[in-house]
């Protein structure tokens, strides 16, 4: 391998190390308390070395957001082929919760740690492109469910529907992460509980409760 290729590869590896260390520090200590110097110290590099990759802390958080939100969008992309928008909504809820449980530090930084907003101008992610923008994926699915008359007629706003479903699943994930040791609460098993949360959301927005559907159809024909 040539010197140039080696340098490109090494640069990429170091960039990944910086992002991983910074993600952990931001989650542990809060965005405000972390400095470029602390990030450098965590990976045993000089501050100068990391300034070669990122001009400041904001560039670091933007790069982490890009990487992590693309990772989530990639999970969603795999379920884009689910044709039924209600079933796609259910699948994306499960994929979202699974992503959170597999990557708790990513999740904490993405959705639970205050930091400067992820600016679309500074991002490699194209806003509204559902292959890249995970929120756009949910918005698209909610919009299809509305267009196909699957939701209660008063829920005609895809943005509101997306925010309702997102709230329920984020609430479940984040309470589990923050309050899991709370002795006041007898937490129910994870799988049963997240499936119930998603099911309740979907029944709550749907025009016809899923299991009542065939009966209604038959009645309509008879």
């Amino acid at each position: 391998m040539g010197t140039k290729e080696r340098r490109v590869r090494e640069k990429k590896v170091l960039r990944g190390k910086i992002l991983d260390a910074a993600r952990e520090l931001f989650v542990e200590e809060g965005y405000a308390a972390v400095t470029m110097r602390k990030i450098a110290a965590a990976i045993e590099y000089s501050p100068t070395a990391i300034y070669l990759h990122f001009r400041d802390k904001e560039a670091v958080i933007n790069a982490i957001c890009d990487t992590d939100f693309l990772k989530l969008a990639t999970r969603f992309r795999k379920i884009a082929e689910v044709a039924d928008p209600i079933e796609r909504l259910r699948a994306s809820g499960l994929a979202y919760a699974d992503f959170a449980l597999r990557h708790p530090n990513h999740y904490r930084l993405m959705f639970m740690t205050p930091h400067p907003p992820h600016s679309p101008e500074e991002s490699v992610i194209e806003v509204g492109n559902r292959d890249q923008d995970a929120y756009a994926f949910v918005l698209w699915t909610a919009g299809e469910a509305i267009a196909q008359g699957r939701l209660r007629p008063e829920l005609d706003d895809a943005e509101l529907v997306a925010q309702i479903v997102w709230s329920a699943i984020h609430g479940w994930v984040s309470l589990r992460m923050t309050k899991c040791n709370e002795p006041w609460v007898d937490w129910r098993p994870q799988k049963r509980s997240i499936e119930a949360v998603i099911d309740v959301s979907i029944r709550g927005i749907a025009r016809t409760p899923p299991e009542a559907s065939p009966r209604t159809t038959r009645k309509g024909k008879g």
Copy 2:
């Protein structure tokens, strides 16, 4: 006023100051980063002075949890008289969100900031007493809804029902607090949005969608 009364009053005021300063520090810097010395400095007292009130940082967080969870339970107590358990669930959801928006720092520390669990042994709150324990209030309401046959038959576990409804409302509150400046999301107006979140949860758990109720009854009679 006698010297003793003055001392008791002063002690109470100082205790409140310590708790307010500590709550803010825990939320801003994270539980781990805060020391008794920092809390003392925030109110311009010597560390010795605050050790007269609290033996350590854990005693401080326990006292904050007691105060703040009792405050929430007091909000719930006012709606205990709502006889219909479904309407009481709706009212407690609205009261919970209102509490969070009015006392964001309290809320952040209670539900969004990792810290040692609030030990029932160290607490003045009686676990399971719905006048004092806010979670027990929701559990009681969910249990009544189940006992009256108001929920879908598969939702026969009050603990699970309480966790589902709590997740939805906590998710809405906490996303608003953490991601409100996110340019990717077009947040819908607060009032409309929290009412929709609660309505969707209740429709999702209820046996009969509220507005379909009279029709079903008529059909049953005819």
